[in-house]
Amino acid sequence: MKNKLEEIRKKHNLKQEELAATLEVSRQTIGSLENGRYNPSILLAFKIAHYFDMSIEEIFIYEEEE
């Protein structure tokens, strides 16, 4: 699943460490999310969306598997 997390984080002038501390996850999790290597749980997706005051769909892009 693709996402715009890196772009949104940079728009908010946040470092990965800062976002990780706010969301209470590890910095590596933020890095993996941004690289698309890891898909978040629905709870973490909501937490991220709430933090940026956006909807989940605005951050995470669902693509049908071919």
Partner: protein, 138 residues
Amino acid sequence: MTSKKTLYIITLVLGLVLVGVSLFVSGEELKILSGVLIGIGAGLFGMSIAQLYMVRWEEKNPELTKQNQIELKDERNTLIRSKAKAQAGDITQWFIVGLAFITIIIEAPLWVTLVTIGVYLLYNILSLYLISRYQKEM
């Protein structure tokens, strides 16, 4: 934090008491009991010292402790740990099967082969039980 400290002080004292008691347990027939008491006592003592040191370290480094807690509870880390443990269990299972064959080849006593097969069966029964439990829970 204080309750943790109290618990480890109790286990530390208990460890010392067990080692102390073992010194008074003498006689050929009680040799095994004395060994068991020393083993458990020393284990408890060592574990308690290590845990008390950790509690002290956590009190002195609240920021690092919080970060460690975050790392421990982090959902990606939790998933990685579970996946790694599950795979390690699967791999170990085949080593146990191999071990059972080796015990047959080297003509080890029958009970050794049976215990090895028992461990393999236990792994599979536990797996089935946990799968069924999680299917009900999730």
